[in-house]
Symmetry: C2
């Protein structure tokens, strides 16, 4: 059995904390491990680590790498472009067959990377069960028994009274529905034979390939290519979910009801549900001072957040944006993100801190003709060989050691030492040491945009654009 984790999403429903440049699955929202780490941890109770594959994209590759250090690098599959779940799963299947030499009878378990599920032990038993059912030729969807008329999830209607499934361990899936309105959701809840669609699946490789052949020839056709061809032509894939492409159409689909706690952390409201509350029903993280405040989520990053007389609110503070919402209305966060996108605002998709394979940089301050950054370079890492035409840079090391190339000059600078990089001068920054290098960069010039950069060699030392 192989487990494929889908980790290419760039969810913005937890904006301003989750953004395209650092999305939900990599966040430590409910403890010391990221949601991706928790997902892998859960799976390793039944699947051995070397049987886990992660599908993500190039921007997130190093996040996956640092979150799942046990993972063989070649088990991180990169989608050239985002194309929803069906193409991603097809790419994963191709990878298992061609690169890992899986037989057509191999069972594959598909899991999102950003859900909370507990207890892990009980969940593991469901995975084992699903392997048996999948080997019998079924495509398995996992359903959650609803405990409220939730309008935020898709539902699966099952045929509950059904001779061939007398054991009740699983049901024939009859119909998949979109997110319902409140009235419909209430009806589903009453009916009793509707389950939340958890977004997890299990199937034999051949069963799913048949499914593609019968229902999405566009994708089936590409399965005949080699993995590399398929990846190269990935953008031609239809942008379509596995539910819509196969599940809703195939007659092989069954639903295994999961009697466990499941939460897709699809909004600040649902995060509030997951976390432990204090005696006033508040959830708070960071530097928080609540007065007469009840049933409120307060997540701070740096700044002091003081509240007075708040009830049923959500307060989320980041370096550059603050969200204050009435509980129950958190789904409107997407309206904010869309508005920001329309206005071309950086805050829609990027944090002030940008993570790179070599470390990270944070914009501390931006003025008319200057920009100040804190740069952290991880041990033994180096940045690309580069130059800027419109800005010069002043570097002051505040901790660690830096190996600096400026023009033909190569020097080491240490804590409390500085270096100056003139305009249009090739330079490279490197951390030769064993501890992170932390330095302050003061940029100066008529233009201090990120795109004023000419890369000659990337951080792996590979040649780039010509000068």
């Amino acid at each position: 059995m192989k487990a494929i984790i889908l980790a290419g999403g760039s969810g913005t429903r937890l904006w301003p904390v989750s953004r395209k440049n650092y999305p939900k699955q990599f966040l430590k929202l409910n403890g010391s491990a990221s949601l991706l780490q928790q997902t892998a941890e859960r799976l390793t109770k039944t699947v051995s680590p070397e049987d886990i594959i992660v599908i993500t994209n190039n921007d997130y590759k190093f996040h996956v790498k640092s979150d799942l250090d046990f993972l063989p690098l070649e088990h991180i599959i990169l989608e050239p472009v985002g194309r929803n779940t069906a193409p991603a799963i097809a790419l994963g299947i191709k990878y298992c067959v061609e690169k890992l030499g899986c037989s057509e009878d191999e069972v594959i378990f598909i899991s999102p990377s950003d859900h909370v599920i507990k207890p892990a032990g009980k969940f593991a038993r469901y995975i084992n069960l699903s392997e048996k059912i999948a080997k019998a030729g079924h495509i398995i969807t996992f359903g959650i028994k609803p405990d409220r008329p939730e309008t935020g999830y898709g539902y699966i209607k099952v045929r509950s009274r059904n001779s061939e499934f007398r054991n009740q361990k699983y049901f024939k899936a009859e119909r998949f529905t979109e997110k319902p309105d409140a009235k419909t959701a209430t009806r589903y809840l009453k009916a009793g034979d509707y389950y939340w669609n958890s977004g997890m699946f299990a199937f034999c490789i051949k069963t799913m390939i048949e499914g593609f052949q019968r229902h999405v020839p566009q994708i089936a056709k590409m399965l005949d290519m080699s993995f590399d061809e398929m990846a190269a032509n990935f953008k031609k894939m239809p942008d379509i979910s596995i539910d819509y492409a196969v599940m809703e159409k195939s007659d092989k689909v069954v639903t295994v009801p999961l009697d466990i706690y499941w939460n897709d952390i699809g909004s600040w409201d649902s995060l509030y549900d997951v976390l432990d509350k204090d005696k006033n029903g508040n959830v708070s993280a960071g530097d928080v001072l609540p007065i007469d405040t009840r049933n409120t989520l307060i997540i701070g990053e740096k700044r002091l957040i003081s509240t007075i007389g708040l009830e049923d609110c959500l307060v989320v503070e980041t370096d550059d944006a603050i969200l204050i919402a009435k509980k129950g209305e958190a789904q409107k966060v997407k309206d904010i993100v869309n508005t920001l996108k329309k206005r071309g605002r950086r805050e829609a998709s990027e944090h002030l801190t940008t993570y790179r394979p070599w470390g990270s940089y944070t914009i501390l301050e931006e003025g008319p003709r200057y920009k100040i950054k804190r740069i952290v370079v991880n041990p033994y890492e180096k940045l690309s060989l580069q130059m800027h035409h419109h800005r010069s840079e002043h570097w002051v090391v505040v901790s660690g050691a830096a190996k600096v190339a400026i023009g033909d000059k190569k020097i080491f600078i240490h804590e409390n030492e500085s270096a100056y990089v003139p305009k249009s001068t090739l330079h490279r920054l490197e951390n030769p040491g064993k501890v992170p290098l932390e330095m302050i960069e003061v940029q100066n010039g008529e233009y201090v945009g990120e795109d004023d950069i000419v890369r000659v060699e990337d951080h792996y030392g590979r040649k780039h654009e010509k000068l």
Copy 2:
């Protein structure tokens, strides 16, 4: 007639914007002028600028100076310590008599520095009226006709049916009351002969001196000293308000009802009342994105503030602290400030930006062994000649020119140039130019507290502690 403006207060009821190091009277809360500037502006409709005196303290001297540049420097009286209104007024009276040579019949108008009053024209007529009444030997308090059972103000009960005041332009003041509870306030409102105590007064010098002699001998005694002696012994003054010291006891007190708009901006709630609302009843300043938000005050400084489904809330964001309160509960802001004080938190009294006579500095970032500041030095200003034993400093000029003395070295550095100040080395920073000097300072060392500083000469060039 002289007008004395009391501008020594360090109000924290508008925390986090108003703090001890930059209090309310200097803030531009309702337009382009600070409350102090608006106060002076109002008074100059009847009093000539050179007849205006401001009582404040040394920390605020340069704020007053830059807000009221028309004011002769010697008209800024500095209280050595804060001692409430009675001692302040006594000091002001002494100043008028000894330094300005006022006669005992001179009328003095006392005004707080942080209230909103309109229209100014009508207010001016009341001041003229009060001069006549004061000359007749009365001590005048100005009352505002209540339009709601306000619990946030003190009240004055007047004797409304009163032969000697048939003209109804003023009444005999019968009783001063503390802030009442809601029930009592409602009774006052019904009664019709209660007025809000506006904190403004007018009187002849001799009338008030008599008042002190009769009711507060402690203060009267000090009035026999010279102004300089009085200032030197100011800390011996009783900490007492003029209301309590004289108004409540004297039989000369009358109340002039003011039929104008008056607001003491005593809380975020009352600021909301003063400001113009949009069609949703919202008041917003800064980078704000409200969705389904009503009757809410949102004041942002730098960060994007997005709100969803808020109603009747107050949101105030500053560099280091955020306040989110339900409207009507803003008076609890003092609980927050007190809690912060108890915990020894800087945020209780200081902003990240500190204003000095020579300019200002802002803490951009603080780490274990470093601190980053943006320093702004006004044209022709200089800092003290100083040294630090535990930190060295890297300076990078981002705009303007700096004249820098480091040890015996004297150099000029300009935009995009830098300088290094080693530990325990005397240095001085100066702006010799015509535009503000803006520079980034990266401090480095085992201790980066503000108190690691040895001043040899202050910014006026006066010798300081010995080396």
